[in-house]
């Protein structure tokens, strides 16, 4: 009879609550008593405890860049769009000045792109030159 009761009353998710110390004292006592008598629940509790320990054992993760409350976030897609816009604007300026873009010019464009990519939005040097030509979208 006791076996039948145990078989129909496996603890299930109460085992996680037990492992986490989230059961009221009375319930925890009853759960431990059940586990002591039920091989199925004892095995499942062990499994829960193992997985729990693995996740809790994961170390802290360090940010790769300093965290800032930046306004706004420039996502990956829009950053690429911004780079393309800057490159296009730079090419247009070069064309207007009658200078053909060549290998020697490339590093200048690259440095503008670099400045753009690493600057706050308002510090974009190209926006001072040709604001209307840079459709930078802030939507991700």
């Amino acid at each position: 009879m006791t076996d039948d009761l145990d078989a129909t009353a496996h603890l299930g998710d109460a085992l996680s609550a037990l492992a986490d110390g989230q059961l009221p004292a009375d319930d925890a006592d009853a759960a431990r008593a059940h586990v002591a008598a039920c091989a199925t629940c004892a095995a499942e509790l062990l499994a829960v405890e193992q997985v729990r320990a693995l996740v809790r054992g994961l170390g802290p993760v360090e940010p790769r860049r300093p965290l800032v409350a930046a306004v706004p976030q420039v996502g990956r897609t829009s950053r690429l769009a911004g780079v393309a816009a800057v490159a296009a604007a730079a090419a247009a300026l070069l064309a207007l000045s009658g200078v053909e873009p060549d290998v020697g010019r490339a590093p200048q464009v690259a440095s503008l792109v670099q400045v753009h990519a690493t600057s706050p939005v308002n510090a974009d040097p190209m926006s001072q030159i040709a604001p209307a030509a840079i459709p930078v979208s802030l939507e991700r």
Binding site: Q50, V55, V68, A69
Partner: protein, 170 residues
């Protein structure tokens, strides 16, 4: 100002300095990669900076965990609304098999395996497990943060662990 219950919202720079690692760790375990973790953590700091979150005196980790979770889930829902062919999952309908004990598991699983298994979980399970085992929140706090009953929290944590185990022994 006259409300004695309201505490001034902590300065975001102080939060970043003192809780940045905690915040980033939770963000990374939720999102699964550095790019999204950085965006997520910074979104949280931005909300703190703009005073968008009511600060209740208590655990700073609990407060940050709640904001981080909500910002993360908002972003998840936003992405799901896009026509990507990804249907919202119903996590409570997923019934993983009961885990079987495997004594070697704990010694074999590398941190990157555990992280990979975590990333493979449906969002709702991962959120519950991360809040419990990474952020160290109580079931009651998780229930409050997610706006779901305690029983649901318990069920998601347990099923999440079962799925993790399945992923790690596959």
């Amino acid at each position: 100002m006259t409300d004695a219950e309201e505490q001034p919202v902590p300065d975001w720079e102080q939060v970043a300095r003192e809780y940045g690692r905690f915040l980033y760790t939770v963000a990374f375990r939720l999102s699964g990669n550095h790019e999204d973790a950085q965006d997520l953590a910074q979104d949280v700091l931005l909300r703190v900076r703009r005073g968008l979150e009511t600060y209740k005196p208590g655990s700073m980790e609990g407060w940050l965990s709640r904001i981080t979770t909500n910002v993360f889930l908002d972003e998840v829902r936003r992405r799901r609304r896009r026509p990507q062919g990804v249907l919202p999952s119903d996590p409570d309908r997923v019934v993983p098999p009961a885990p079987a004990a495997d004594v070697v598991l704990a010694e074999q699983a590398l941190p990157e395996d555990v992280q990979g298994a975590l990333a493979s979980l449906p969002d709702e399970f991962r959120v519950a497990v991360v809040l419990c085992d990474v952020a160290g929140r109580s079931y009651q706090e998780i229930s409050d943060a997610l706006g779901v009953p305690l029983g649901t929290v318990r069920s998601r944590i347990h099923r999440g662990r079962a799925l993790l185990r399945e992923a790690l022994t596959r």
